[in-house]
Protein backbone atom coordinates (compact mmCIF):
# COMPACT_ATOMS: atom_id res chain seq x y z
CA UNK A 1 0.00 0.00 0.00
CA UNK A 2 1.48 3.35 -1.04
CA UNK A 3 0.58 6.36 1.10
CA UNK A 4 -0.24 9.23 -1.26
CA UNK A 5 2.81 10.39 -3.18
CA UNK A 6 5.14 10.20 -0.21
CA UNK A 7 8.41 8.62 -1.35
CA UNK A 8 9.26 6.58 1.77
CA UNK A 9 12.25 4.25 2.01
CA UNK A 10 11.30 0.59 1.61
CA UNK A 11 11.66 -0.50 5.30
CA UNK A 12 9.72 2.59 6.38
CA UNK A 13 6.86 1.99 3.98
CA UNK A 14 6.76 -1.63 5.09
CA UNK A 15 6.44 -0.49 8.71
CA UNK A 16 3.71 1.97 7.72
CA UNK A 17 1.83 -0.82 6.02
CA UNK A 18 2.09 -3.09 9.06
CA UNK A 19 1.05 -0.36 11.50
CA UNK A 20 -1.89 0.48 9.27
CA UNK A 21 -3.32 -2.97 9.93
CA UNK A 22 -3.90 -2.11 13.60
CA UNK A 23 -7.47 -1.19 14.58
CA UNK A 24 -8.22 2.53 14.65
CA UNK A 25 -5.00 3.46 12.80
CA UNK A 26 -5.43 5.05 9.39
CA UNK A 27 -2.72 5.64 6.79
CA UNK A 28 -1.84 9.08 8.19
CA UNK A 29 -1.40 7.97 11.79
CA UNK A 30 0.48 4.89 10.59
CA UNK A 31 3.00 7.12 8.80
CA UNK A 32 3.34 9.42 11.82
CA UNK A 33 3.94 6.42 14.13
CA UNK A 34 6.47 4.93 11.74
CA UNK A 35 8.55 8.10 11.66
CA UNK A 36 8.26 8.41 15.43
CA UNK A 37 9.61 4.88 15.81
CA UNK A 38 12.41 5.74 13.41
CA UNK A 39 13.55 8.58 15.67
CA UNK A 40 13.16 6.56 18.86
CA UNK A 41 16.28 5.45 20.82
CA UNK A 42 17.42 2.04 19.65
CA UNK A 43 16.83 0.36 23.05
CA UNK A 44 13.23 1.49 23.25
CA UNK A 45 12.48 0.38 19.72
CA UNK A 46 14.06 -3.00 20.41
CA UNK A 47 12.11 -3.50 23.60
CA UNK A 48 8.88 -2.74 21.70
CA UNK A 49 9.79 -5.26 19.02
CA UNK A 50 10.68 -7.86 21.64
CA UNK A 51 7.42 -7.25 23.48
CA UNK A 52 5.49 -7.90 20.27
CA UNK A 53 7.36 -11.15 19.64
CA UNK A 54 6.97 -12.23 23.28
CA UNK A 55 3.25 -11.71 23.24
CA UNK A 56 2.98 -14.20 20.39
CA UNK A 57 5.65 -16.66 21.53
CA UNK A 58 5.26 -16.74 25.29
CA UNK A 59 1.50 -16.74 25.77
CA UNK A 60 -0.70 -19.78 25.66
CA UNK A 61 -4.37 -20.50 26.10
CA UNK A 62 -4.80 -22.14 29.51
CA UNK A 63 -6.27 -25.54 28.74
CA UNK A 64 -8.44 -25.35 31.82
CA UNK A 65 -9.95 -21.85 31.95
CA UNK A 66 -9.20 -20.85 28.32
CA UNK A 67 -7.71 -17.54 29.45
CA UNK A 68 -4.62 -16.11 27.82
CA UNK A 69 -1.74 -16.88 30.16
CA UNK A 70 2.02 -17.37 30.30
CA UNK A 71 1.78 -20.97 31.48
CA UNK A 72 -0.59 -23.87 31.03
CA UNK A 73 -2.40 -24.38 33.40
CA UNK A 74 -2.40 -20.71 34.31
CA UNK A 75 -1.53 -19.08 37.65
CA UNK A 76 -5.19 -18.71 38.65
CA UNK A 77 -6.07 -22.33 37.90
CA UNK A 78 -3.10 -23.65 39.91
CA UNK A 79 -3.35 -21.22 42.82
CA UNK A 80 -3.89 -22.98 46.16
CA UNK A 81 -5.48 -19.91 47.71
CA UNK A 82 -8.41 -19.88 45.32
CA UNK A 83 -11.63 -21.85 45.66
CA UNK A 84 -11.63 -24.55 43.04
CA UNK A 85 -15.34 -25.31 43.41
CA UNK A 86 -16.58 -22.01 41.96
CA UNK A 87 -16.30 -21.10 38.28
CA UNK A 88 -17.13 -17.65 36.94
CA UNK A 89 -18.00 -17.69 33.23
CA UNK A 90 -17.00 -14.53 31.32
CA UNK A 91 -17.13 -13.49 27.69
CA UNK A 92 -13.51 -12.44 27.14
CA UNK A 93 -10.16 -12.05 28.95
CA UNK A 94 -10.79 -8.32 29.49
CA UNK A 95 -13.88 -9.14 31.58
CA UNK A 96 -11.74 -11.46 33.69
CA UNK A 97 -9.30 -8.61 34.32
CA UNK A 98 -12.18 -6.32 35.34
CA UNK A 99 -13.40 -8.89 37.87
CA UNK A 100 -9.86 -9.47 39.15
CA UNK A 101 -9.46 -5.72 39.76
CA UNK A 102 -12.18 -5.93 42.41
CA UNK A 103 -9.98 -8.35 44.39
CA UNK A 104 -13.15 -9.83 45.90
CA UNK A 105 -13.53 -12.97 43.83
CA UNK A 106 -11.53 -15.96 44.96
CA UNK A 107 -12.82 -18.66 42.61
CA UNK A 108 -11.74 -19.77 39.16
CA UNK A 109 -12.76 -18.48 35.75
CA UNK A 110 -13.83 -19.76 32.39
CA UNK A 111 -13.42 -17.58 29.29
CA UNK A 112 -15.92 -18.23 26.47
CA UNK A 113 -14.17 -16.04 23.87
CA UNK A 114 -17.49 -14.69 22.56
CA UNK A 115 -21.24 -14.78 23.10
CA UNK A 116 -24.08 -16.35 21.13
CA UNK A 117 -24.99 -13.96 18.34
CA UNK A 118 -26.96 -15.54 15.50
CA UNK A 119 -26.86 -12.32 13.48
CA UNK A 120 -23.06 -12.47 13.35
CA UNK A 121 -23.16 -16.21 12.75
CA UNK A 122 -21.77 -17.13 16.18
CA UNK A 123 -23.34 -20.32 17.50
CA UNK A 124 -22.65 -22.55 20.52
CA UNK A 125 -19.89 -24.37 18.60
CA UNK A 126 -17.82 -21.19 18.34
CA UNK A 127 -17.63 -20.71 22.10
CA UNK A 128 -15.51 -22.62 24.62
CA UNK A 129 -18.59 -24.43 25.93
CA UNK A 130 -17.40 -27.99 25.39
CA UNK A 131 -14.35 -27.20 27.56
CA UNK A 132 -16.60 -25.77 30.28
CA UNK A 133 -18.78 -28.87 30.32
CA UNK A 134 -15.71 -31.14 30.51
CA UNK A 135 -14.35 -29.14 33.44
CA UNK A 136 -17.62 -29.40 35.31
CA UNK A 137 -18.13 -33.06 34.61
CA UNK A 138 -14.63 -34.02 35.73
CA UNK A 139 -14.09 -31.53 38.58
CA UNK A 140 -15.77 -30.91 41.92
CA UNK A 141 -17.57 -27.73 40.94
CA UNK A 142 -20.40 -26.59 43.20
CA UNK A 143 -21.30 -23.22 41.74
CA UNK A 144 -21.15 -21.60 38.32
CA UNK A 145 -21.48 -17.81 38.14
CA UNK A 146 -22.67 -16.54 34.77
CA UNK A 147 -21.01 -13.16 34.26
CA UNK A 148 -21.81 -12.43 30.62
CA UNK A 149 -22.74 -8.87 29.63
CA UNK A 150 -26.21 -7.66 30.67
CA UNK A 151 -27.44 -7.22 27.07
CA UNK A 152 -29.61 -9.45 24.93
CA UNK A 153 -26.76 -11.57 23.55
CA UNK A 154 -25.24 -11.95 27.02
CA UNK A 155 -28.60 -12.94 28.51
CA UNK A 156 -29.23 -15.44 25.73
CA UNK A 157 -25.80 -16.99 26.31
CA UNK A 158 -26.39 -17.16 30.07
CA UNK A 159 -29.76 -18.84 29.54
CA UNK A 160 -28.24 -21.30 27.10
CA UNK A 161 -25.52 -22.28 29.58
CA UNK A 162 -28.09 -22.49 32.38
CA UNK A 163 -30.07 -24.93 30.26
CA UNK A 164 -26.93 -27.03 29.64
CA UNK A 165 -26.07 -27.09 33.35
CA UNK A 166 -29.50 -27.62 34.88
CA UNK A 167 -29.44 -31.45 34.66
CA UNK A 168 -26.15 -31.52 36.61
CA UNK A 169 -27.78 -30.21 39.78
CA UNK A 170 -25.23 -27.58 40.77
CA UNK A 171 -25.82 -23.99 41.83
CA UNK A 172 -26.00 -21.68 38.81
CA UNK A 173 -26.03 -17.94 39.58
CA UNK A 174 -26.12 -14.78 37.51
CA UNK A 175 -24.38 -11.50 38.42
CA UNK A 176 -26.91 -9.05 39.92
CA UNK A 177 -28.24 -6.39 37.62
CA UNK A 178 -29.04 -2.97 38.99
CA UNK A 179 -27.97 0.62 39.22
CA UNK A 180 -24.36 1.58 38.55
CA UNK A 181 -22.47 3.63 41.14
CA UNK A 182 -22.46 7.33 40.22
CA UNK A 183 -25.44 6.84 37.94
CA UNK A 184 -28.65 8.82 37.75
CA UNK A 185 -31.98 7.15 38.51
CA UNK A 186 -33.76 9.37 36.02
CA UNK A 187 -31.83 7.88 33.11
CA UNK A 188 -32.21 4.25 34.14
CA UNK A 189 -34.33 2.08 31.84
CA UNK A 190 -37.30 0.05 33.07
CA UNK A 191 -35.52 -3.29 32.82
CA UNK A 192 -32.62 -2.14 35.00
CA UNK A 193 -34.97 -0.49 37.50
CA UNK A 194 -37.14 -3.60 37.68
CA UNK A 195 -34.09 -5.73 38.43
CA UNK A 196 -32.85 -3.16 40.95
CA UNK A 197 -36.19 -3.22 42.76
CA UNK A 198 -36.33 -7.01 42.76
CA UNK A 199 -32.78 -7.26 44.10
CA UNK A 200 -33.09 -4.57 46.80
CA UNK A 201 -31.12 -5.14 49.98
CA UNK A 202 -31.98 -4.35 53.61
CA UNK A 203 -29.85 -1.53 54.99
Amino acid sequence: MRIGFMPAAEPVSRLIEELGKLPGIGPKSAARLAYYLLRMPETEARSLAEAIIAVKDETVLCSSCQNIADSDPCAICTSEERHHNIICVVKEPLDLLALERTGRYKGLYHVLHGVLSPMDGIGPGDLKLKELMERIETGSVEEVILATNPNLEGEATAMYIQRLLSPLGLRVTRLARGLPVGGDLEYADEVTLTHALEGRQPM
Binding site: G24, P118, E155, A156, M159, D189, V191
Partner: protein, 222 residues
Protein backbone atom coordinates in the same frame (compact mmCIF):
# COMPACT_ATOMS: atom_id res chain seq x y z
CA UNK B 1 -37.67 11.48 3.11
CA UNK B 2 -35.46 14.43 4.01
CA UNK B 3 -34.83 14.68 7.71
CA UNK B 4 -34.44 17.87 9.74
CA UNK B 5 -31.20 18.55 11.56
CA UNK B 6 -32.59 17.28 14.86
CA UNK B 7 -35.56 14.95 14.78
CA UNK B 8 -37.64 12.71 17.00
CA UNK B 9 -38.70 9.23 16.06
CA UNK B 10 -39.82 5.99 17.54
CA UNK B 11 -37.72 2.96 16.62
CA UNK B 12 -37.12 -0.72 17.25
CA UNK B 13 -33.47 -1.76 17.59
CA UNK B 14 -32.54 -4.49 15.10
CA UNK B 15 -28.79 -4.73 15.40
CA UNK B 16 -25.80 -3.35 17.28
CA UNK B 17 -22.24 -3.26 16.01
CA UNK B 18 -19.42 -2.06 18.23
CA UNK B 19 -17.57 1.04 17.13
CA UNK B 20 -14.38 2.32 18.71
CA UNK B 21 -13.90 2.44 22.47
CA UNK B 22 -17.46 2.50 23.79
CA UNK B 23 -19.72 3.50 20.87
CA UNK B 24 -22.05 1.37 18.79
CA UNK B 25 -23.61 1.63 15.36
CA UNK B 26 -27.25 0.81 15.88
CA UNK B 27 -29.58 -0.40 13.14
CA UNK B 28 -33.08 0.91 13.81
CA UNK B 29 -36.43 0.30 12.20
CA UNK B 30 -38.54 3.46 12.34
CA UNK B 31 -42.14 4.18 11.30
CA UNK B 32 -41.39 7.14 9.02
CA UNK B 33 -37.80 6.72 7.87
CA UNK B 34 -37.68 2.96 7.39
CA UNK B 35 -34.44 1.28 8.38
CA UNK B 36 -31.72 3.69 9.50
CA UNK B 37 -28.30 3.28 11.04
CA UNK B 38 -27.18 5.68 13.73
CA UNK B 39 -24.28 6.09 16.12
CA UNK B 40 -24.91 5.84 19.86
CA UNK B 41 -21.95 7.34 21.68
CA UNK B 42 -20.74 5.70 24.85
CA UNK B 43 -23.57 3.12 25.05
CA UNK B 44 -21.25 0.33 26.08
CA UNK B 45 -20.22 2.20 29.21
CA UNK B 46 -21.99 0.94 32.32
CA UNK B 47 -23.18 4.41 33.22
CA UNK B 48 -24.42 5.35 29.77
CA UNK B 49 -27.81 7.02 29.93
CA UNK B 50 -28.60 5.54 26.50
CA UNK B 51 -27.46 1.97 27.12
CA UNK B 52 -30.47 0.17 28.54
CA UNK B 53 -32.84 2.03 26.25
CA UNK B 54 -31.04 0.80 23.16
CA UNK B 55 -30.69 -2.91 23.80
CA UNK B 56 -31.57 -5.20 20.91
CA UNK B 57 -35.30 -5.51 20.20
CA UNK B 58 -36.42 -2.62 22.35
CA UNK B 59 -38.94 -0.04 21.17
CA UNK B 60 -37.78 3.43 22.15
CA UNK B 61 -38.55 7.08 21.57
CA UNK B 62 -35.39 8.67 20.25
CA UNK B 63 -33.97 12.07 19.52
CA UNK B 64 -31.42 12.05 16.73
CA UNK B 65 -29.13 14.70 15.33
CA UNK B 66 -27.90 14.59 11.78
CA UNK B 67 -24.25 13.70 11.63
CA UNK B 68 -21.82 14.03 8.75
CA UNK B 69 -22.19 10.40 7.80
CA UNK B 70 -24.45 8.57 10.22
CA UNK B 71 -26.95 10.29 12.48
CA UNK B 72 -26.23 10.44 16.19
CA UNK B 73 -28.63 9.31 18.88
CA UNK B 74 -28.75 11.99 21.56
CA UNK B 75 -31.62 10.86 23.75
CA UNK B 76 -33.57 7.67 24.19
CA UNK B 77 -36.44 6.49 26.34
CA UNK B 78 -37.65 2.95 26.07
CA UNK B 79 -41.37 2.43 25.48
CA UNK B 80 -41.59 -1.35 25.27
CA UNK B 81 -38.75 -3.68 26.12
CA UNK B 82 -40.60 -6.93 25.24
CA UNK B 83 -39.43 -8.41 28.52
CA UNK B 84 -41.26 -11.80 28.35
CA UNK B 85 -39.56 -12.32 25.00
CA UNK B 86 -36.12 -11.84 26.50
CA UNK B 87 -36.49 -14.23 29.39
CA UNK B 88 -37.00 -17.37 27.30
CA UNK B 89 -34.25 -18.83 25.14
CA UNK B 90 -36.59 -20.17 22.48
CA UNK B 91 -38.37 -16.84 22.12
CA UNK B 92 -35.07 -14.96 22.00
CA UNK B 93 -33.91 -17.07 19.10
CA UNK B 94 -37.21 -16.44 17.27
CA UNK B 95 -36.83 -12.70 17.87
CA UNK B 96 -33.23 -12.76 16.63
CA UNK B 97 -34.50 -14.45 13.49
CA UNK B 98 -37.18 -11.79 12.98
CA UNK B 99 -34.63 -9.00 13.38
CA UNK B 100 -32.13 -10.62 11.05
CA UNK B 101 -34.77 -11.31 8.41
CA UNK B 102 -35.96 -7.72 8.45
CA UNK B 103 -32.43 -6.35 8.39
CA UNK B 104 -31.46 -8.46 5.39
CA UNK B 105 -34.69 -7.83 3.49
CA UNK B 106 -34.88 -4.05 3.66
CA UNK B 107 -32.81 -1.21 2.23
CA UNK B 108 -31.87 1.79 4.32
CA UNK B 109 -34.12 4.84 4.42
CA UNK B 110 -37.05 3.32 2.58
CA UNK B 111 -40.16 4.23 4.51
CA UNK B 112 -42.57 1.36 5.11
CA UNK B 113 -44.99 1.99 7.93
CA UNK B 114 -46.91 -1.31 7.56
CA UNK B 115 -43.67 -3.22 8.18
CA UNK B 116 -43.02 -1.24 11.34
CA UNK B 117 -46.52 -2.05 12.56
CA UNK B 118 -46.03 -5.69 11.64
CA UNK B 119 -42.70 -5.86 13.49
CA UNK B 120 -44.11 -4.31 16.63
CA UNK B 121 -47.28 -6.42 16.59
CA UNK B 122 -45.51 -9.71 15.94
CA UNK B 123 -42.86 -9.07 18.60
CA UNK B 124 -45.66 -8.41 21.11
CA UNK B 125 -47.39 -11.55 19.93
CA UNK B 126 -44.15 -13.50 20.35
CA UNK B 127 -44.08 -12.43 24.02
CA UNK B 128 -47.17 -14.49 24.77
CA UNK B 129 -47.41 -16.93 21.86
CA UNK B 130 -47.81 -20.61 22.62
CA UNK B 131 -46.69 -21.55 19.14
CA UNK B 132 -43.75 -19.31 18.20
CA UNK B 133 -43.37 -21.01 14.80
CA UNK B 134 -46.77 -19.64 13.82
CA UNK B 135 -45.58 -16.09 14.61
CA UNK B 136 -42.53 -16.59 12.44
CA UNK B 137 -44.56 -17.89 9.49
CA UNK B 138 -46.96 -14.98 9.87
CA UNK B 139 -44.06 -12.52 9.95
CA UNK B 140 -42.36 -14.08 6.91
CA UNK B 141 -45.48 -14.08 4.75
CA UNK B 142 -46.58 -10.60 5.80
CA UNK B 143 -43.06 -9.25 5.26
CA UNK B 144 -42.94 -10.70 1.74
CA UNK B 145 -46.32 -9.17 1.02
CA UNK B 146 -45.41 -5.69 2.31
CA UNK B 147 -42.22 -5.72 0.26
CA UNK B 148 -44.04 -6.63 -2.93
CA UNK B 149 -43.21 -10.32 -3.08
CA UNK B 150 -46.58 -11.71 -1.98
CA UNK B 151 -46.80 -15.28 -3.28
CA UNK B 152 -49.76 -16.15 -5.50
CA UNK B 153 -51.87 -18.68 -3.62
CA UNK B 154 -55.25 -18.52 -5.34
CA UNK B 155 -54.53 -19.01 -9.05
CA UNK B 156 -52.13 -21.18 -11.00
CA UNK B 157 -49.23 -19.06 -12.27
CA UNK B 158 -49.23 -21.05 -15.53
CA UNK B 159 -52.81 -21.23 -16.77
CA UNK B 160 -54.23 -18.50 -14.46
CA UNK B 161 -57.18 -20.69 -13.52
CA UNK B 162 -58.27 -20.88 -9.85
CA UNK B 163 -56.56 -23.65 -7.90
CA UNK B 164 -58.69 -26.68 -7.12
CA UNK B 165 -58.48 -28.48 -3.76
CA UNK B 166 -55.94 -31.10 -4.72
CA UNK B 167 -52.20 -31.53 -4.19
CA UNK B 168 -50.82 -28.45 -5.99
CA UNK B 169 -47.23 -27.37 -6.38
CA UNK B 170 -45.34 -24.36 -5.13
CA UNK B 171 -42.35 -22.61 -6.68
CA UNK B 172 -40.34 -20.23 -4.53
CA UNK B 173 -38.51 -18.90 -7.60
CA UNK B 174 -41.65 -17.91 -9.47
CA UNK B 175 -43.29 -16.80 -6.22
CA UNK B 176 -46.50 -18.76 -6.29
CA UNK B 177 -48.38 -21.95 -6.84
CA UNK B 178 -49.00 -24.12 -9.92
CA UNK B 179 -51.64 -26.67 -10.72
CA UNK B 180 -50.24 -30.15 -11.47
CA UNK B 181 -50.76 -29.63 -15.25
CA UNK B 182 -48.62 -26.49 -15.50
CA UNK B 183 -45.82 -27.33 -13.05
CA UNK B 184 -43.85 -29.40 -15.59
CA UNK B 185 -41.90 -26.45 -17.03
CA UNK B 186 -40.87 -25.04 -13.64
CA UNK B 187 -37.30 -25.92 -12.58
CA UNK B 188 -37.79 -26.20 -8.80
CA UNK B 189 -41.22 -27.00 -7.44
CA UNK B 190 -42.35 -28.71 -4.29
CA UNK B 191 -45.73 -30.19 -3.59
CA UNK B 192 -47.94 -28.20 -1.28
CA UNK B 193 -50.92 -29.67 0.54
CA UNK B 194 -54.35 -28.10 0.59
CA UNK B 195 -53.99 -27.43 4.31
CA UNK B 196 -50.62 -25.69 3.94
CA UNK B 197 -52.08 -23.50 1.20
CA UNK B 198 -55.01 -22.60 3.41
CA UNK B 199 -52.76 -21.69 6.35
CA UNK B 200 -50.64 -19.48 4.10
CA UNK B 201 -53.73 -17.75 2.71
CA UNK B 202 -55.04 -17.22 6.21
CA UNK B 203 -51.78 -15.80 7.54
CA UNK B 204 -51.47 -13.47 4.57
CA UNK B 205 -54.93 -12.02 4.93
CA UNK B 206 -55.08 -11.69 8.73
CA UNK B 207 -53.23 -9.59 11.26
CA UNK B 208 -51.97 -10.95 14.56
CA UNK B 209 -55.28 -10.53 16.42
CA UNK B 210 -57.01 -13.15 14.29
CA UNK B 211 -53.93 -15.13 13.31
CA UNK B 212 -53.09 -15.92 16.94
CA UNK B 213 -56.32 -17.91 17.24
CA UNK B 214 -55.20 -20.32 14.56
CA UNK B 215 -54.31 -23.77 15.72
CA UNK B 216 -51.96 -25.44 13.33
CA UNK B 217 -50.88 -29.04 12.98
CA UNK B 218 -47.24 -29.19 13.99
CA UNK B 219 -46.09 -30.58 10.63
CA UNK B 220 -47.44 -27.45 8.95
CA UNK B 221 -45.44 -25.02 11.05
CA UNK B 222 -42.10 -25.40 9.27
Amino acid sequence: MARPRVYKTEAIVLKRINLGEADSIITLYTPNHGKIRAVAKGVRRLKSKLGGHLDLLTRSALLLAQGRNLDIITQSQSIESFLPLKSDLNRISCAFYVAELLDQFTAEEVENYPIYRLLNADLLWLCTARNSALVLRHFELQLLSHLGYQPELYHCLGCKSPLTPQRNLFSAISGGSFCPDCAGKEPVVRPISVDALKVMRFLLSNDHTSARRLRMRSDLSH
